[in-house]
């Protein structure tokens, strides 16, 4: 474990020094081709293709139940895939445990952040990868060092904690998110999988988290950013892969896609329009129907003039 620079500057580059193992930006770290997963007769995911490159953010977008969770579980090693190829650093892999993914530098920050609320921040930071000193029966946790490192690493991420001994459950959602990201970065992640990191956060906290995603990318990590919010994905993403009903709707570099197209694709164009019409009919006075209709209009989803009986403006 490399010694940390605890100067607590503004840059996250003062972290581990493990960046030496990172490939040059633009190198493909993960390539999945036509990957799929079925549970017995249920097909949860099929024909998904995308790449994750060092120093780039690959966004995986999809609504609830689109197969995002299944996809990240495959990448994180929690589930093995049942079809397609999964290539890491040029070699084909088939993970059977999260440890294998971690060993290759693929770290996942789950939606529940994988923290234990009642345990102190520093114990959470090092959970599963505790630092020890001594050997044999006196091999013990290096408490002082772990506290010092976790405090310094969090400071580098912009979180200044009074006391790393406080239970992590006492931190705010955004802070906990950052602890989880800082932890993954510290432990030499080359690929960071972020599962809906902004889902439970307010506007301001979401912005903070997006900033950390950009920071991680600038440090040369490959980031997989899972979200259902195209407005969060577009500013930081370099590549967008849209999932719907367990299938990939395509895998686009940012150059080939505008935000509007992304939103439209993600929401499922005509489906959104149909829903808006239905809502307008059922509840002509409701706000949600109005806002949805506006959304449809601004996005130009309804390119063809279908504005017939449903076009009543309340």
């Amino acid at each position: 474990m490399s010694q940390t620079n605890s100067s607590g500057g503004q840059t996250v580059e003062t972290g581990t020094g493990d960046t030496a193992t990172l490939p040059p930006p633009g190198t493909s770290i993960i390539e999945v081709t036509d990957i799929g997963k079925s549970y017995g007769s249920v097909i949860a995911l099929r024909d998904v293709t995308t790449t994750v490159k060092a120093g780039e953010v690959t966004c995986v977008l999809g609504d609830n139940g689109a197969g995002k969770s299944t996809f990240i579980k495959i990448l994180a090693g929690a589930h093995g895939h049942t079809s397609g190829t999964f290539v890491v650093d040029g070699g084909e892999r088939h993970f059977s445990s999260p440890r294998e993914a971690l060993a290759l530098g693929i770290a996942t920050v789950y939606q529940d952040l994988a923290v234990v609320p009642l345990m102190p921040v520093w114990r959470n930071f090092f959970l599963g990868s505790e630092m020890t000193k001594g050997a044999g029966p006196v091999r013990r946790l290096d408490v002082a060092k772990m506290k010092q490192i976790s405090k310094a690493e969090l400071a580098a991420m912009g979180i200044d904690l009074r006391d790393v001994d406080q239970p992590i459950g006492t931190l705010s959602g955004g802070e906990r998110q950052c602890v989880a990201i800082a932890r993954a970065v510290y432990f030499g992640a080359r690929v960071l999988i972020l599962d809906e990191p902004t889902a439970a956060l307010g506007v301001r906290q979401s912005g903070v988290v997006l900033k950390y995603i950009a920071k991680a990318r600038d440090r040369g990590l490959g980031v997989i950013f899972i979200t259902h919010n195209p407005h969060h994905a577009y500013p930081v993403g370099d590549r967008f892969m849209i999932l719907r009903r367990g299938r990939s709707m395509g895998n686009f570099p940012k150059a080939e896609m505008t935000l509007d197209e992304l939103v439209q694709m993600m929401a499922g164009g005509t489906e959104l329009e149909a829903l808006s019409h239905e809502l307008a009919r059922e509840m002509p006075d409701s706000d949600i129907a109005k806002s949805m209709e506006e959304e449809v209009e601004t996005l130009g989803v309804a390119a063809e003039p279908v504005r017939s009986e449903g076009g009543k403006h309340a």
Binding site: A114, V116, L118, D163, P167, T170
Partner: protein
């Protein structure tokens, strides 16, 4: 006190304390420890019986409750580790009887060598503990149900198999068995300490007898505390009890940790089984039945959360100390000894309320 500055941390290159943490925060930190409530309660109970009964604080009188507290402490500490790990073991009590019977029957009925008989019961206990853990982890059923099953299976075995082999329900004449003396060295011996110089010691009651159970209990408490607070395994125990999915996600070996905890409880059951067998020189088919809840109560009184993820080994031992003191204190005070159960119930409810309050404070989002 307000004028003194904190003494600088020795030669350690540790960074200075954050200035936002005041002096009072350290005191609060001590008061937040899970075992503090039990320590205060133990002190009050000790003082109460010391002043209201004549025998309680006498060295000879204390010998009894120190022994009881010691053997309960061994179990309570093991059960506390398991509870911190998020599981229960209702077969822990009957395990003490089961292991005693295995060793006792082997030695008295078949004349098996004492060490072989001891090792066989240990192996049996560990196997049952492993099975408990395996069933809980593989089926995903609550350990409460799984070990309730084990409890009834063992309870039946204790009675039926013992009757089948030796035609009675308890091992007798154990003292005459070959090898008893050697085993008693390890599990049944005691030291006598002359404390008649104590100002309150009455003549003839000034000898304190410390049984080997007490030394075993001290060793168990020290090792368990060390493991919990200062080793990776301890970190994992807290994690699997606090949030099992999270623990698995960051690479904690959840299966091994939990199965290890069940085996530790079984080991403690074996240890207490041996201590009881060699001290009392008998093993009943009903030994330990009903005590599994006492262990859980001791652990809860010592600050363990019923939901897992929080607690301490020292606290559980203090819970056992309270149990031992009250059990004997009630006798010395001349009350009906059945009041012990009422007391246990009240202690349990009180402790659960306090623990939940502590937990909600710890988890409160700012």
């Amino acid at each position: 006190m307000s004028t003194t500055t904190t003494p600088p941390p020795k030669a350690d290159p540790t960074p200075p304390q954050d200035e936002r943490i005041g002096q009072h925060a350290r005191l609060a930190g001590i008061l937040r420890r899970p075992e503090v409530g039990a320590a205060v309660a133990a002190l009050i109970i000790f003082l109460y019986f010391s002043f209201t009964t004549s025998a309680f604080a006498q060295p000879a009188g204390a010998s009894t409750w120190i022994f009881t507290a010691s053997s309960f402490a061994i179990m309570a500490v093991a059960v506390a580790l398991l509870m911190i790990g998020g599981e229960f073991d209702l077969s822990a009590g009957v395990m003490t009887g089961f292991t005693g019977l295995v060793t006792g029957v082997m030695m008295t009925h078949w004349g098996v060598n004492v060490w072989i008989a001891i090792v066989v019961s240990l192996a049996a206990a560990l196997a049952i503990g492993f099975l408990n853990g395996l069933m809980v982890m593989k089926t995903g059923l609550p350990s409460f149900i799984v070990t309730l099953g084990t409890f009834f299976v063992l309870r039946g075995v204790d009675l039926a198999v013992t009757k089948l082999i030796i035609n009675q329900v308890s091992v007798v004449n154990f003292k005459e068995a070959t090898g008893y003396d050697a085993g008693a060295q390890l599990f049944g011996s005691y030291v006598k300490i002359d404390l008649s110089w104590l100002p309150w010691a009455d003549p003839g009651r000034g000898t304190l007898t410390i049984y080997s159970a007490t030394f075993w209990a001290l060793a168990v408490v020290i090792i368990a505390t060390w493991v919990l607070q200062r080793t990776r395994v301890g970190n994992w125990i807290f994690a699997v009890g606090g949030a099992q999915t999270s623990a698995r996600q960051v690479g904690v070996p959840v299966f091994a940790t939990k199965v290890g905890l069940f085996m530790t409880t079984a080991f403690a059951g074996w240890l207490v089984g041996m201590l009881s067998l060699f001290k009392t020189t008998t093993a009943q088919s009903t030994t330990g039945v009903g005590q599994e809840f006492v262990y859980i109560i001791c652990a809860v009184v010592g600050g363990c959360l019923l939901t897992g993820g929080y607690g301490s080994a020292v606290g559980a031992a203090l819970g056992a100390l309270i149990y031992g003191m009250v059990g004997q204190g009630i006798v010395y005070a001349g009350w009906d000894s059945d009041w012990l159960y009422t007391f246990l119930g009240v202690m349990l409810l009180g402790a659960v309320l306090v623990n939940n309050w502590v937990k909600s404070r710890a988890e409160a989002v700012r």
